[in-house]
Amino acid sequence: MPEETILETRDLVKEFAGFVAVNGVSLRVARGSIHALIGPNGAGKTTVFNLLTRFLPATRGAILFKGDDVTHARPAEVARRGIVRSFQMSAVFPALTALENVRVALQRPLGTSFHFWRSERTLDALEARAVELLAAVGLEADRDTVAVELPYGRKRALELATTLALDPELLLLDEPTQGMGHEDVGRVVALIRRVAAGRTVLLVEHNLSVVQDLARRVTVLARGAVLAEGSYDEVSRDPAVLEAYIGATP
């Protein structure tokens, strides 16, 4: 039985003032899988994420999510349809507490986000769910800590909790283990595996053992184009990949 495709890109191209950062990328991400996007620095991975979430307009090509063309959707709309990203640099709301960070994400479905005449106490109803999400990433003790004061690994966990608050169908994670110590990496891998249950994850990751651990399918990007695709074992034996990617990193 062929797998259902949740996300498809057709010949996606992004040019920056003549420089081609993404060059004809066609991807198919199967629903329910963890799909990794790897490649050397500057290969265009983050740019692909920016195109998928419409943070940047594509120069050419099409993006289909669940069969719908979202190539020209607004970024907030893409998020509301169920594609939610994390950022390469951790993205929290620094002056808000951990609880408030998660609550902001939970708040939108209430439909009162433009209600400037309503008391903030109406948000108290979201607290239980926010605490639950914090607990899911091991942050229950930090609920009242201002995000800027959390250590790096916890910031990333908070970011993940905030993302999960939207219950996205497709999670885009940009180097979730970057800058982490060995122990934190293990925790994040376990966390990703846990949250991937029932959803699809597209993962950009430099740490190849993490990729090997998590990803069912791997797409290798080099200089903006797809170099190879397959299981981790397949692509890691591909001579072109060895040369462009593994050969390039010591």
């Binding site: 907030a76 709301f93 408030e100 009162t112 209600h115 903030e120 948000l123 201002v146 004061e149």
Partner: protein
């Protein structure tokens, strides 16, 4: 003490001082302070909570003052209708300017708002019913609700004070509303708010329109209080002054802008004798305060209170 308790105290202090004020200082002085305090608080909603620096807020204050002046003088409407008309025009202006400026940020946003404000200034100078260089003189205060004649300074004061409290309450409510929380998230990390599905431009636009509307209310009240509307209300000096008042008092604090307004109006009043030195002295005070109190006067006090009572971080 929690944030909510602290706010309740601030409110109580403010209401009491406001009630007693016309018996402690000249009512017209107190009313002038109220108008500019409301103006600065409305500005602070935009700068302190949405992170947007407008350099054209005089357009809203001034246009509302003129509209109120014209409706009261030529049509003899009840005072509150004149005030509402001024506020409504400022709100519309805010919607139009905001829609065109809101997608820009930082210095570009400031420059576009300044440009629009200059346009309003030009119109006010040129249009036939604004009195040109002389401004609108002799605006009648009229009757509030059609019955309460605002001829005495004390009656007028309480009318203005009631309107101020309503406006001030709305600003505080907006800051501490579901909308206010989204606004703060956008200020903290705009791309992240966007990635959570918030159309950030719409939230900023609403903040801009609210700020313009309440600046308009301040301008309308000012026209009622001083019984004139003048070019100085639409001049870019006003747009600069409100930035100064907000930063002096403490941007992003409840009482800061009002304290800043009180300080600036007091300085201008007591230094009126020394003529053009006012500007220089206000400037010097501003520089000194910004150097000494980075968070503004109220911002520093708040940090101190939090350190000593809550033991938390500022």
């Amino acid at each position: 003490m929690s944030g909510r308790a602290l706010r309740a105290w601030a409110w109580a202090a403010m209401v009491l001082v406001g009630l007693a004020a016309p018996y402690l200082v000249y009512p017209v002085f107190a009313m002038n302070v109220l108008c500019l305090a409301l103006f600065a608080s409305a500005f602070n909603l935009l700068l302190g909570y949405a992170g947007l620096l407008s350099f054209g807020h005089a357009a809203f204050l001034g246009s509302a003052a003129y509209v109120t002046g014209i409706t009261l003088r030529t049509w003899g409407l009840p005072t509150e209708l004149g005030v509402l008309a001024g506020t409504a025009v400022a709100t519309l202006l805010g919607l139009v300017f905001g829609a065109l400026a809101i997608r820009r940020s930082g210095i570009y946003f400031a420059m576009i708002t300044l440009g629009f404000a200059q346009l309003v200034y030009f119109l006010v100078v040129q249009l036939p019913w604004t009195g040109g260089e002389d401004g609108l003189q002799g605006i009648p205060r009229g009757k509030a609700l059609g019955v309460l004649a605002l001829d005495g300074p004390i009656t007028t004061y309480y009318f203005v004070y009631a309107a101020f409290l309503a406006g001030f309450w709305l600003i505080q409510r907006a800051i501490h509303s579901p909308f206010g929380h989204v606004l703060r998230a956008i200020r903290e990390n705009e791309p992240r708010a966007l990635s959570l599905g918030y159309d950030v431009a719409r939230y900023k636009l609403l903040a801009f329109v609210l700020s313009a509307a309440l600046s308009g209310l301040a301008g309308s009240l000012k026209a009622v209080v001083l019984q004139f509307a003048s070019l100085s209300d639409v001049h870019w000096h006003r747009s600069g002054e409100v930035v100064l008042m907000t930063l002096l008092g403490g941007m992003g604090t409840v009482l800061g802008p009002s304290v800043g307004a009180l300080l600036v109006v007091t300085l201008e009043n007591y230094l009126a004798d020394v003529g053009s030195w006012v500007t220089v002295i206000t400037g010097a005070v501003f520089v000194a305060c910004v150097l000494a109190f980075r968070r503004g006067i109220v911002g520093e006090v708040r940090a101190l209170v939090r350190r000593s009572f809550i033991g938390g971080k500022p």
